[in-house]
Symmetry: D2
Subunit: 346 residues, 4 copies
């Protein structure tokens, strides 16, 4: 099956390209980048020296791509830039997996509040937000366009969603703290992302109003509904920059629901993820470490209960460029197109 990547010259795009080049069931036929058009992949992604099959970046052209024989396209463009491609591809019957936030939020008012005017709202009904382990299966037949979740949202939704659905945690007083490697900020040359500025530095940023709140709270509210709650869920999301290249460590503090036990929590997790190849539930007493997941599509999770505060403390670790972006996008493709879920991801 031929696939293409649109906008492949940032960190997310590079990881996606590397995964697709090695995927046993697809043929990466086209890789676009306006800025790098004409250059061999290995000239821009040196890790691909010798293995880029001579592929070169081409300039983006939505119509030409839509007319090509690629069956599926990944969009790895900056927010807001995906609209034209999405329209053209969906109209041409191509499958689209979008890594930007453009189609992650179903409620248009919410999207607009965080991101500004939507560029292709008419596509929203055909779009599905797919975090594979919690999205069920109907999207595979319903979606024409899939929105891959954001990196921070993945790290928060995986631990929390099954617990909200099972009514095991409160919908109030949820606090999620995340520490992210610097690649999450993208490849732009700005002073604050210089090595000298970020090494040996930890810093909170984007407090109270990070854009990822839009999809996080929409998904948590849906999960709470399934668990019997009607109110929208809001949470405190505190992101931080960490002095590392890749990885997200998230720690969520949430009051236990009345009568909820750690044992019941683990049971809910087992039910949700016991068969999931990319979610590892750690043993009691263990906590995840980003170094153990970077380079893999895995998210490790653990939980503990504090009888003094009656909170559950949930922790997760993922690679922001893999399970948080490119790896998850490939996992979505695998499920959508009927490949083995872990194809090309081991």
């Amino acid at each position: 099956m031929k696939v293409g990547v649109v906008g492949a010259s940032g960190y997310t795009g590079e990881v996606l390209v590397q995964l697709l080049l090695k995927h046993p069931a697809v043929d990466l036929a086209v890789v676009t980048s306006r800025a790098q058009a004409g250059k061999p992949l290995s000239a821009v992604i040196p890790a691909l020296r010798g293995v880029d099959r001579g592929l070169r970046f081409v300039d983006s052209d939505a119509a030409a791509l839509a007319a090509s024989d690629c069956a599926l396209f990944f969009l790895a463009l900056p927010h807001g830039a995906a609209a034209d491609y999405a329209r053209a591809f969906v109209a041409a019957g191509k499958r689209v997996i979008d890594l930007s936030a453009d189609f992650r939020v179903a409620d248009l008012a919410t999207y607009t509040r965080y991101y500004g005017a939507h560029h292709a709202p008419e596509l929203l009904p055909q779009a599905r937000y797919v975090l594979p382990e919690i999205a069920g299966e109907r999207w595979r037949s319903e979606a024409r366009l899939v929105a891959a979740p954001g990196c921070y949202p993945t790290s928060i939704l995986v631990p929390l969603v099954p617990l909200l659905r099972a009514g095991l945690v409160s919908r109030e007083h949820i606090v999620a703290n995340s520490f992210s490697g610097v690649s999450g900020a993208g490849k732009k040359a700005a002073e604050m992302y210089l090595y000298v500025e970020r090494a040996e530095s930890a810093k909170a940023y984007g407090l109270t109003a990070h854009r990822h709140l839009a999809e996080i709270e929409e998904q948590l509210t849906l999960a709470a509904k399934a668990g019997g709650g009607g109110e929208p869920v809001v949470l405190q999301f505190n992101p931080h920059l960490a002095p590392m290249r890749r990885g997200i460590a998230t720690t969520i503090t949430v009051p236990a629901a009345a009568g909820a036990t750690l044992s019941a929590l683990r049971t809910a997790w087992e039910a949700a993820y016991g068969a999931a190849p990319f979610v590892q539930i750690l043993a009691e007493g263990e906590t995840p470490d980003t170094a153990h997941v970077v380079g893999t599509n895995r998210i490790d999770i653990s939980a503990t209960y504090d009888p003094r505060t009656r909170n559950f403390v949930l922790t997760s670790a993922e690679d922001n460029l893999m399970k948080g972006a490119g790896g998850q996008a490939v996992q979505i493709m695998n499920l959508w197109c009927g490949f083995a879920e872990a194809a090309g991801l081991t």
Copy 2:
């Protein structure tokens, strides 16, 4: 004034020694370490090459030290080891500043629950827990022995205590997440602290039961009492190891008290810290960065309010070896002995 440091060969002791060697008002007369006895300071602390005044480590001997002409001793020993020295020094009328946890907790039952049997409980009435900016002044005349606060506790108490005293925040649902450089773990050669294990790695540890909860909750409860509350304060404290050498970044989420505003919070901070040379209240919209404080005795703090959750989010950054340990100990000495508060700390 002659001073001595007992147990100076860990990271905390090394920083303390470097500060005292440059202090304009004291003469560092003796530095002890069983393991390094006989070696020049610069052989163990290479940063001191050329400036260690020929000083050598000597073996610890409580009686001899107590009989010396040092007026004040810093104890930088592992927890539980300070007791004999504390006894001998207090009996000899020497001032003692202890950097371990041994005298930080007034309630013996609490101490025992977290640390085990206390080795010198009879000294507790003469001990004072001194975080200078919140400890008031009476300790200067009352204390015979001062307990310097722990690194994490400093990063949590500085932002929270004035707000509890002023009744501006809830005493429930407090969540403190901290992210610490690896030097906080000490200089012991254990596999988990190897460079290869800790670089590019972020990881939660010590969840729900970290020893520092003992002093944190005792101090927060005192502050809440002053603010009119009677119940003990418990909080969720989530520490993490960060891939950096020094620094602690702490982010505290706490519900605002009814009617409390960000403006009132800033007023309370200004009142508490406006004249404090080592607390910097950042402008609105700014957040602290550990890289800006490492190497200084400063703690930078900032606050924001989230109308959706009605939480305050407070952040702080300090150097775990300076304001979190050695620097704060020198600051305590300055205040105790009548030197300029910032002497030797600029």
Copy 3:
């Protein structure tokens, strides 16, 4: 084909195990470690969570392993510990790839001078030192036991050997400077390898007498002989520890032979490596970067000529745990057993 790894709980062993678990043509049947016997692979190598096929470490037993149906064994033991296994395996007709230095040096006197008494000198005639790109092909039929080269030697021999063979460089005044990630020191818990000691630190060590000189100079002398020289080659080898986990960057300064040009050098490299899947000759003006090769089995090399000094300056970058150890061992197996050279290494 069933294979086993003896001594798999250091950094080199862990990388080897991860490669063999994913190798399309082999079945990793046994993994031994005295210290970790009984534990699942994923308990010791967390990166393998979910993909370790339930394999557990077993205790080392040379006789039992020799009697098993594994056709080939990798020895990843500390220097000097391989002898018994090597003997038992060779006697049983198993193929052996040794990652230690025990069989890398043909001259017993040289070996003894650097490493001490040899534990299995009778095996030396059946052993071959195999850096695949320079070892030719005869070893595939002659060797009963293959010694995989050391990490630093690989980074020095790849650039230099073709040039000595072609008589393009002097055999005197060779200077090789190398910077290595800390994983090259192994997984032992020693203070000097702690994160706090090695972060933000660059330091020379092992000057003039590093053990790797034994194999480096033996191989360079062989190459010089082929190029018409008779004298042994000695070089200055200056290793350094760098504040990173993996990677070796080596820079070699060597006088050009009379009449040698950069163009002739590139021709010699092309002839030697043009078809080598794991050696990348960079374009003029480019220099290698360890970050571009870590995680791959590739070594990138470049060369420049300085008309003022009449030196060639050769640079190389490799991953010390891949091309410098585990990856190269798998590459050797592939060639020895008739698999595709890059099998399991892309």
Copy 4:
């Protein structure tokens, strides 16, 4: 004594400002930066929060500055930009210490070959290149303008110059390899200096033609002349970027002169540096570590001899922003103005 810093908003300027603010004998009266004009120092240099004495950056104006009552100016501008200031200040009888390369090279042809047209050649006769430990004392009365040496040159000249003067080393086949923290590249926002690009990365750059060769070879040639040699000295200088913020580790391989011994080398070093407060000669067997000198004005050096190659291997470690730039500039001021050599540098 009032001093000023022109162009203070790069990493070198920031360190210089921090040193001068704490200097006991000078009053930092003016700090200029076109880009940051109007902002408080602490807004641009967060490490100065609370201690910047309310100073603000002002826009550069050579005439106004020359007419002020500052007695000495530091120029921390990019190469080529210092000319107008230098002229105005020298004409007004102000002392000038220039941290750029503009006045480091006495030979105009050499300067032009590496840097392009010189902007103020008429000042060259009044300029002196001052590496304090090797510059003697005459410059203090002769110079109207002092050129502070570059960071790499300092790390190479300190070990080599006394040995060339004493005829202990060859003037040929000198190879200097240096490994520098990323701050040496300055504060410009370019992709290659982003955290994600530089972390876990070691890479050679600027091979054979680095601009610092101009001053390095001019100084080495002078030293060789003093030792009896007439030929110009050329050397191989191989710089590398290291994954750290600050520090330079340099390793120099140079053939020993006939009859030269390690003992004679150490004697020559002792004679040259025994009384130098900022040069530490390490004991035999020790090698310098950048982590031990960063933050200090110290350069640590060590030497060893290899009887197989008959080379000396010299190593040095310094902080590129201190002894390699700002710290050395303050040291120069101290000597020039009659302050204690180490004033403000301990």
